[in-house]
């Protein structure tokens, strides 16, 4: 069976910046494939090249066996694309948008009307059908954008950061929607900054950084590299940190990391049980603890494990934007982490 996406040696340079620097991807039919990476990693640029929105500088790209460079018009008939920023018309109503996109794709006036109503209904926008999109909230725009990509039931759908900027509830709804698309036989290539999201949705994940693929595998394989969860211990006295690091190293195999400014130690664990061993050992050594917290690994920790440098370090080189995945601004990660906050 041909792969949904076959990419080798993909390159895009903007002046001196090689935004995409030799990426290989293989997306199999029927799977959700996640491209995970921090802001500025080259996710959007990769998708835009595959969607014929940006010329490919170097490399080969095929969508269901069709060459993207040679036959862009054919590729456009196979793909549904939902960009990072909703590409719908602000000056039209939701229904008018869908009807326009349907008509442009050769669907009859009458059929277009039917499809528009069906899709609006299915994406929970029926009540807003005749409202101007300029009055829509961010979440509604995203849903309309996704609905617009579904008009012709494309076998392959690209989703560029489908939940960035959505509140946790809307994000959960978007996840359900994405899963239901696969049930109908679509293949999905999505990008995300959240390990949590890739973990929830993707069958396989490629981690990219600086325009290169740095790791690939199932979510389980990736997480195995960083442990299944992380124990965060905030020390009562930051003077204790060398002692505490030594104690932790004595108990567990994984290498702990220290954030000096907060006096906090992050310990990768294979099972949550390990937490008890660490805490007991610390108590025996007389290390005072201010707070304890068990988290799923963040993307930052995955990065650290894979590349040897944190994702945050490069945030300032990447388009100057902040890095919501690594630190604490990430709703998704906090939602699902088993928090056990112990105030002293």
């Amino acid at each position: 069976m041909t792969n949904a996406v076959d990419v080798t040696g993909l390159v895009k340079a903007f002046g001196d910046v090689r935004a995409v620097n030799g990426i290989d991807l293989e997306v199999r039919q029927g799977e959700i494939f996640g491209v995970l990476g921090p802001n500025g990693a080259g996710k959007t640029t990769t998708l835009r090249m595959l969607a014929t929105l940006l010329p490919i500088d170097e490399g080969e790209a095929r969508i269901f066996g069709v060459d993207v460079r040679r036959e862009p018009h054919r590729v456009r008939q196979i793909l549904g694309v939902t960009g990072q920023y909703a590409s719908v018309d602000e000056n039209l109503t939701a229904a008018e948008n869908l009807r326009l996109f349907a008509r442009l794709q050769g669907i009859s006036r009458r059929q277009a009307r039917t499809i528009a109503m069906e899709l609006l209904d299915q994406f929970g926008l029926a009540d807003a059908a005749d409202r101007l999109v300029s009055k829509f909230s961010g979440g509604m725009r995203r849903r309309l954008d996704l609905a617009a990509s579904m008009i012709t039931r494309p076998p392959l759908i690209f989703l560029d950061e489908p939940t960035t900027g959505l509140d946790p509830r809307t994000r959960g709804q978007m996840w359900d929607t994405i899963r239901s698309l696969v049930v109908q036989g679509s293949t999905i290539l999505l990008t995300t900054q959240y390990l949590d999201e890739a973990d929830q949705l993707a069958d396989r994940i490629a981690v990219i950084d600086h325009g290169r693929k740095v790791a690939e595998g199932t979510p389980e394989e990736l997480k195995a590299q960083v442990g299944s969860s992380t124990l965060q211990v905030t020390l009562a006295h930051s003077d204790d940190r060398d002692l505490a690091m030594a104690v932790v190293r004595g108990v567990l195999a994984g290498e702990p990391t220290l954030s000096p400014e907060s006096g906090r130690i992050a310990v990768p664990m294979t099972t949550a049980d390990d937490a008890a061993d660490v805490l007991i050992a610390l108590r025996k050594a007389g290390v005072g603890i201010q707070a304890v917290n068990v988290d799923r690994p963040t993307l930052d920790e995955v990065f650290l494990a894979i590349t040897g440098h944190g994702a945050e370090e490069r945030a300032d080189t990447a388009a100057g934007t902040g890095w919501p995945g690594g630190t604490n601004g990430d709703n998704g990660t906090n939602d699902t982490s088993g928090v056990l906050e112990v105030a002293r």
């Binding site: 054919r74 590409s87 008018e96 442009l104």
Partner: protein, 286 residues
């Protein structure tokens, strides 16, 4: 919105199986849009443009206020000096204002299209399997309405000020049509500039540089013979002069002269040269 789960027969209602067969979809694809598809897509894009016009009536400011203002202003300021009286100046000036209006309106087409292209929805137009001509030709087709409004108002305000066109109804109709055709043809030049420029403002700036010499170094407001020799030479080859003369012949004399023919040939040339340039530049760069 309790559930967003999609039932199996989303989309093309009743047609096709519940699950998607990629091989079948690939087999159905065509390698390029057919001419009839391109035409249908252009009409859909024109429909979008008329919707936007209806929702943003301020888009009509330039084609309503401007012709009224210019007609009155030019008539009272230059009328006495150039032709001795306002009423004697009108037959000379109204065709000039018509040509100027066509030029200004076509410039606005380029600026507005460029502005539109920066919106997110153009990303979708680019990703859709549609002719690269449609997103440009659609709005331009809808803009025929604007040229029509501008030309009508210019003529109407002239008539209100006492202008009595000698060419009769048919002559006026001919001049009106020629104005619309030349505006539309010129718009391809500004659309092409729009696909090259970095921003809508840049289009505006560049277009002004083209527009001012073309209108004022023409016979639109003064007889070419009154100018110094070197300027007269330029004015005589300026395509705007040809359109102005053609409009005068039609509206004032009801005569279909060689100038009318040349004006039309010029329009066809503009479209033949600049439409493919614009489409190619749009498909490549945008």
């Amino acid at each position: 919105m309790s559930t967003l789960a999609l039932p199996p027969t989303i989309g093309q209602a009743g047609a096709g199986p519940a699950t998607i067969d990629p091989a079948e979809v690939v087999a159905r694809t065509s390698s390029r849009p057919s001419p009839s598809q391109a035409v249908a897509q252009t009409f859909s894009m024109a429909w979008r443009a008329t919707k936007m016009m209806r929702r943003n009536p301020e888009q009509f400011f330039d084609v309503t206020i401007q012709p009224l203002l210019f007609t009155a202003m030019f008539a009272y300021v230059f009328g006495g000096a150039i032709s001795g009286s306002v009423s004697d100046y009108l037959p000379l000036m109204i065709p000039g204002i018509l040509a100027q209006t066509a030029l200004i309106t076509s410039m606005a087409t380029g600026v507005q299209l460029r502005d539109d292209m920066e919106k997110g929805v153009f990303d979708r137009f680019k990703a859709l399997p549609i002719s690269r001509l449609a997103p440009l030709a659609g709005p331009m087709m809808a803009d025929l309405i604007r040229y029509g409004v501008a030309a009508t108002l210019t003529l109407a305000s002239g008539i209100a000020m006492g202008y009595r066109p000698g060419g009769g109804v048919l002559g006026v109709l001919g001049g009106w049509l020629l104005t619309i055709v030349s505006g539309w043809s010129l718009a391809w030049v500004f659309t092409w500039i729009g696909t090259l420029a970095r921003s809508a403002q840049a289009v505006q700036g560049m277009s002004m540089l083209i527009m001012f010499p073309l209108t004022f170094l023409s016979n639109a407001f003064v007889p070419a013979e009154s100018l110094p020799g070197w300027l007269e030479a330029f004015v005589k080859v300026n395509p705007v002069s040809h359109v102005v003369t053609a409009c005068r012949d039609l509206i004032n004399d009801g005569a279909v002269t060689a100038q009318v023919g040349w004006a039309l040939v010029g329009c066809v040339a503009l479209v033949v040269i600049f439409a493919p340039l614009a489409v190619r530049s749009y498909a490549r760069k945008m």
